[in-house]
Amino acid sequence: MKQLLFLLILSTSWLSAQDNFTISGTIKDVDNGETVIGASVYFKDTTIGAVTNEYGFYSVTAPNADYTLVISYLGYADLVQEIVLDRDQKLDIEIHEVSTQLDEVVVTAEEGERMSLKKPQMSASKLKVSTIKQIPVVLGEVDLIKSIQLLPGVTNNGEASSGFNVRGGASDQNLVLLDEAIIYNTSHLLGFFSVFNADAIKDVKLYKGGIPARFGGRVSSVLDVRQKDGNSKNFDLTGGIGAISSRLAMEGPMFHDKGSFLVAGRGSYAHLFLKLADVKNSVYFYDLNLKTNYQVNENNKLFLSGYFGRDVFDFSGKFNSNYGNLSGNLRWNHIFNDKLFSNLSLIYSKYDYQMILDFVELDWVSDIQNYNVKYDLSYYVNDRLSIDFGISDINYDFNPGEVKPISESSAVNYLKLDQKRAYEEGAYVAVEHKVSDKLTASYGLRYSTFVRSGGQSLNVYENDQPVRYNETLGIYERGTVLGETQYDKKDAIKTYATYEPRLALSYQIDENSSVKASYNRVAQYLHLISNTASVSPLDVWAPSGKFIKPQLANQYAVGYYRNLGGDAISLEAEAYYKTVDNRVDYIDGSDLIGQNNIETEILNGESRAYGLELLVRKSEGDFTGWLAYTLSKSEQRTLGGSAGGPGINNGNWYNSAYDRTHDVSFTGSYRLNDKWSFGTNLVFQTGRPVTYPDGQYEYEGQSIASFSDRNANRLPSYHRLDISATYQPNRKPNSRWKGEWVFGIYNVYNRKNAASISFGQNSDTGINEATRTAVFGIVPSVTYNFKF
């Protein structure tokens, strides 16, 4: 692989013609010095140009000539500069925002939100934090994860469930990165809110398909979240006081203007929910984002970023549960020359979950942590060719569970489930190649390997069957354990290797329309095995190994893109077909909690999803917003395989829990004048597949429901309307203090959307009834935000 990279570099440098010159540099915001991600840098009236990378760096190579250089980024004034390209040159540019309002509330959308028709990248959505902040949300708590659910192809399992689902995939199939660190659990309060504090976030990009070769490890999507670097010009204080939490962020220059820092904190109030008001319970979360950077010299820059978040539940001191993510990342940007940009990252992430049950004197802890070294390079060869390549190595440690007695008198014995270890390595090359003025291709290959290391023992099962079908009873049972094999720490239990080709094409039909097609294959070596409707904090990540194979996705997508009426309105239509091999599903009656041998609870299956996504978006003017519609299907099939028997649901295809036939979202914001602006959401979704009873019988003096096939029924449709109004009082022109009030009403017509329907007997009458649990009825809220 390394030889291949070397050859590529050699051959491409040879490709660059001699009378070409390169202009390169960094694009920043003039007000706060933040680097700008995804700004267009191009020569006017040519097809030559580039887009700034995650560090604001650009490099454009073109023949010797005079050019008009244009920097364009939505919400910012176009910057135009005459360039004489008769030599290689470096040009750092600062651009300034059009709006002077608080929190970058811009009324125009950005280049990235508008469609870049020429780029082969498809199925990607970029959301600016200013856009996210305008979307009405429950209790006024700005929520990145809830915002992306308004995009086509993105749903979740209900208001109080964690994570999100992309194109019919499970939430563990999303790679969520915060400054490149893997975030294993994106939710606060079991799913009510998300872990991202919008005040600390600069840029959000979601890849639903056409996943670039530099990403790997999850089959459904990549959510790439980048934190702000911190204001390098002025000391800045932003904050807010809301119904759920208060926020405060500090940023400013550091190291004698060679760097900057950002510290952002958010804490919710205890006794959050009315239902808890009269008891001695507390439920709260907090998080802390840190970032600092140091410009060593022209070609070297260091970044240090960190995140720490925690949720705490304390119920009368009887049980205490807490969980959270911790991550840190040290990065080194090095510019070798005006065409070769590199970044080295050392990343650590951890997610842990603890539950202390005082009444049984039990303390339960589980965690997953990883160390990741990544080296990514971008080589901007010439005006037709650029190459990304790099390597990554992730070292995982899994602690699936540890049970401790918390006192002498505890009935609990100490127990530790087997620790698991694994390495995931990846190397990739991706070429973006402008084949002609109309056709651009992006082709890449990722080669990934996964080593499940030893240092533990594994059960040996009779006939190699961890699960076997009991023909007599018609159920799946745990296999018979014959003994154990001990694996030494330096031995590999199992090794997997996968070639993951990525391909994307775009063909520009005319000025305003293009078609694109993409194919990607992605391997996923980790699995979050869950048998509950919402992924619960008790669910444990399991690595691939002797018994569990890596998930392997193939996705094909085609799309049509058109700008209507100038740049203000755009239309996107995409169709996709996706298959995932080795998608495991739990057997009926599985027991996953504290399960040391997860292989005895699952069967190997497959899933497939296909759909059509439409997006109409208006990104400029007083009114901005989008309308998204998705028609889709997501199914899975789990055969008995080596366990024998028919499999789950008799081996037939069944709806996955993420299947939504229709999904419509409308979100819009309207700026009335300098003082008032308004926002709204309207959401409609087919109900989630669930399992209902199809009969009842008497047993143990109770009515027992007999349930039908898995996911054969559906919850009622989900829909709701939200509105918000933002008021910015008159400001004294010279005052640094800027404040705004945000008034919101979530679920305006108070629809009781079923988060779940449960079936049981009324304890007075003994009559069976169906009980609906709704999470949020109508919820008004007020938030005050300030900037100083």
Binding site: A160, L189, L190, F273, N281, V283, S316, K318, F319, M355, F359, V360, L362, A411, V412, N413, L473, G474, N531, T532, P537, L538, G589, D591, I593, G594, V690, T691, Y692, D694, G695, Q696, Y697, E698, Y699, E700, Q702, I704, A705, S706, S708, R710, N711, K752, I757, S758, F759, G760, S763, D764, G766, I767, N768, A770, T771, R772, T773, A774, V775, G777
Partner: protein, 281 residues
């Protein structure tokens, strides 16, 4: 014990979610099936000779009218060792009884039911149970520090995997409360199980008060039955909650040897049981 982890999580999610109401939901109706409730429980210190097996059919989920009692079936239990046959007598009210059954600990038995010309067969072993060592009431224990809870103590035998079912029923309540327990985290230790009721407007549940009498049963059960009853209890208590396991079709051990696609609901269980009653002070 593991159940507590899950139960706690489910309680958290219930605390966080706000609004519950009863709604009309249309469900499908499958064809009626035979239900065999063959629970041969042998109370410690008794002969265990009197036993009852109940037969019924399943009914549509929201139905309250269908008479589901099954009469005219033949019911027989065989001791697999000495092949003694115990024939249960049809009482024409859905129950089948016997008064000369001989329970033998750790002995396997076979149940045979013939109904509508189809033969249902099940095998199970009679499991022993340890004694209840103490019952006491407290306020501090349990989930809620302000209501009375009843604590039942027993010693788990160390040299084996044990599975238990407990039943608590306050006299006057419509249904018992069932608990499933294993000793995976607690092998060989003194185990405490508490029963607590809290005031709940939705379910009209009321907390325990002085004078209330609670009937308590501790049953020793097989691993196979534990796997069954654990699911059944979770489905009865929490089915549908987002943190409870997705409900699945429960399969008991009564298979239909005439038509394997039409197995019976219910279970053939043999368990030694310790019974006690406690009056709240």
């Amino acid at each position: 014990m593991k159940t507590y982890l899950k139960t706690t999580l489910i309680l958290l999610s219930i605390i966080l979610t706000s609004c519950e109401d009863v709604v009309d939901i249309a469900v499908k109706n499958e064809a009626p099936r035979l239900v065999i409730e063959a629970s041969l429980d042998w109370e410690k210190g008794t002969q265990g000779n009197e036993q009852t097996i109940k037969l019924s059919t399943s009914t549509p989920y929201f139905d309250t009218t269908v008479n589901s009692k099954v009469t005219g079936a033949s019911v027989r239990v065989t001791n697999d060792n000495d092949l003694t046959q115990y024939v249960f007598v049809d009482q024409n009210d859905g129950t089948y009884t016997i008064s000369d059954f001989i329970p033998v600990l750790n002995q396997s038995y076979t149940l045979e039911v013939v109904y509508n010309n189809e033969v249902y067969v099940a095998h199970e072993t009679l499991m022993p149970v340890t004694d209840i060592t103490e019952i006491y009431q407290s306020v501090e224990g349990g989930f809620d520090d302000e209501v009375v809870d009843i604590n039942v103590l027993f010693s788990d035998p160390e040299n084996e995997e044990n599975y238990y079912m407990m039943k608590f029923q306050e006299q006057g309540d419509l249904f018992p409360e069932l608990y499933d327990l294993d000793d995976e985290f607690t092998n060989g230790n003194e185990m405490t199980v508490f029963y607590e009721k809290t005031d709940n407007e939705n379910t009209n549940e009321e907390e325990l008060e002085p004078g209330d009498i609670v009937d308590i049963q501790l049953l020793g059960i097989s691993e196979q039955y534990y796997n069954y009853i654990r699911l059944l209890i979770e489905q009865v208590e929490f089915a549908g909650d987002i943190f409870s396991s997705t409900p699945v079709a429960l399969k008991g051990n009564c298979i239909n040897s005439t038509n394997p696609n039409n197995p019976a609901y219910g279970y053939f269980r043999l368990a030694q049981v310790v019974k006690a009653s406690y009056t709240v002070e």
